[in-house]
Every structure is written in C-alpha cells, then in structure tokens.
Symmetry: C3
Subunit: 141 residues, 3 copies
C-alpha cells in the first residue's frame, strides 16, 4: 500500500528552505504506524538535504561552501564551462545538484518520521531567480 502527494516550494534565490513540517503533516494524515517516506525532487538545478535545524549559521556556511566549491560560470576559475546559455548560475546549479541528493527515503516509526533530534528536511535552491519547485512525497507501508 502506498499514497502520494506533491508539495510546492516557492524559492527566492540560493539557500536552504525547510519543509520538515509539510512532510510530517503528510505522514500524520494517514495514521500509518510504520512505513517509509520518500521525498523526491523533480528538478536538476536544486537539491534535497537533511541538515541541522538548530543554528541557522550551519545553513549559511553550507551555502557558502558550495558557492566557493562551484563558483558562477563568469568566475575566472570556471572558464571551462560550456553550458552558459541559461546564465552563469545554471551549470553550477546542475553540479551542486549532482554533489548532493534529489531523493531521500526516511523511515516512519510509531507514526512519525524517524529523523534525529537535530535533523531537518531542506530544499537547497541553487539558482538566483525565484523558482517554483515540486517535491513528490511517497509513503509506502
């Protein structure tokens, strides 16, 4: 048995957007005691991340690390990039997506997501412009 839903997140530039509550609400709806929630992102220029939900500086540092590891295509160190037609932030976004994840399965135990105390679910937007992102939630029991 399985059920699904789609959630949408409006992003406003690069950074992490939490959606733990939305995922938890979807799990709670059905009342299943045990199961597996898969969160799946339908895009190739953003990603999904489970990260610390306490100190917001962690999210800031994560964002800074990935900007330094994969600078925009107009940075002198990135002159080798060929795919630049969609702007200097596009190809780096695909690379950051490849370095992280687009699909994460999370066990459900006792009717709740089995996340650790400090774990939150985030959409990691890698593009500069606002985007409407879709995440498919799939719960199997």
């Amino acid at each position: 048995m399985a059920r699904q839903a789609t959630i949408r997140i409006e992003t406003r530039g690069q950074g992490l957007y939490e959606f733990t509550r939305k995922a938890a609400a979807f799990v709670a709806e059905g009342g299943e005691e045990i199961g597996l929630l898969t969160v799946f992102l339908r895009h190739t220029s953003c990603s999904l991340l489970i990260q610390e939900n306490a100190d917001p500086d962690v999210r800031g540092d994560l964002d800074r690390f990935f900007r330094r590891l994969v600078p925009p295509a107009d940075d002198p160190s990135m002159r080798w990039i060929v795919h630049t037609t969609e702007g200097p932030d596009d190809m780096p976004a695909h690379i950051k997506s490849a370095l992280t994840a687009v699909s994460i399965p999370i066990p459900v135990t006792g009717g709740r997501l089995a996340l650790g105390t400090w774990q939150g679910l985030y959409l990691f937007e890698h593009r500069d412009a606002p985007h409407r992102r879709e995440i498919v939630l799939h719960l199997s029991t």
Copy 2:
C-alpha cells in the same frame, strides 16, 4: 508486492550513459499505477545520477567538473593517494562515487516514473577502460 530486474550497461570510458528508457520500460511492463522504483548500482567506481537530458553540454561540463575536482592519481596534486595498484583512474573513481550516489528511489505515479520534464537517469562511469556495469531495478507497490 515487489518485482526486480537487472540491467547491464557496457561503458566505454568516463562519461554519462543514459538508461531512462530501460527503467521506464521495466516500470511499464507490470502496469502498476502507483509505486516506487529503486535503481541500485552494484559497483564502487561509477555512480548513478539524475541530470538534465536536454543540452548534452551539461553532461560534458559535469564530467569536466569531476575530473578537475578529483584528477587522476598521477596528477601532481594527488600525490597523497596510496591506493594506486589498479591504475591512476581507480582511486579517483571511488572518490567520485562517494561524492555522488549509487542508489536512487523514484516514485511511480499514474503508471509512469515521476521524473521532471528535464530529468534523465544516467550511469556515470568514472573508469577509463570499458566496463560491464549492473543496475538492479526494484519496484515496490
């Protein structure tokens, strides 16, 4: 309920090899309306990637980025590598595998993979020599 199959991909050096159609054909065979397809790679020197299926330059740039981030073991910057017995491309292949993914679950909705418009499924080969790679497909409903 679940069913499985194994697909094999013959690679000819580093780069991305698409197998979206093979995965979609496996999903279509059973006619399940809703489910979860897991693609699992049985190797440690290549990886799986969901990436843009439109402009081939995206795949070229991805390949170039990973070659620059993790050059072959005979590159002066990689002299710290100890595991060199299988050639200069072997340990970098394990590292690139660790930086990407070997298993990706994808929801099935309305009898089809819930991939976004621009998402394709790729085997990312990190070795120079030709290899025969095995991917296990697992569909649960």
Copy 3:
C-alpha cells in the same frame, strides 16, 4: 509489510566503520526472499557510504580526500566559516555529510542484500571525538 530495527555504532574519531554484517544479519532474520532494505542515519555530522571492502587503503584515501576538500575550521583556507561554537571539526562534518549520503536503499534478492562483490556498508564519521551513532534499518517487502 515492513519491519525495522536500530543499530548503534560507537565511533572513535574520523574514518569509516563497516556495518555490512549487522545489516545482513537483520535481513536474514526475517527470511524474506525479495525486498528493499533502507539504511537511514539519524545524524548530520557523519554519513553513510557504500564503498570497496577489499583494500583498506581505499578507505584511508577517501578519508584523506574529504579532509583535504573540507579542512577544519581553524585552517587558514576556512576562515569564512561562521558556525565554530562546537569546535573546528563540526562545520566541516556537516559539509561532508551534505556531500555524501544519510540514507541508502538496497534491494534484497534471494534473501540477501544485492550488494556487488566489492561493496561494503560504512558509517563515515566526520567528528574527532567518540560518538554513539544510530542507524535505522527498514525492510519492506
């Protein structure tokens, strides 16, 4: 149908800790012929990795690569890090976790994990101090 268990691993500093046998034992207990085992880590400063289980130098090189890519926060190249309250190894640990994985689904075929010949399951500890880590095992059939 699904069953779950939690395993605990005591780590003693950065490096890879194998738990393939514990996961295989959990799979064997139930006697299911076909299924999907998901291994899920309840932490944000370590990660899960499927890697070569033959030459231990591979694990050493992996550890060295990630230390070089993401040095401790007191390294001159990492002065941009803001989140330093939990020590110089903490924020790099979150970054390494984002670059790897915290959840991996593995098909079960013929009653056994469908791992390739050279694939082992590892907890990748990124913190210096000893930690008690929890992994949730979820088997669905």
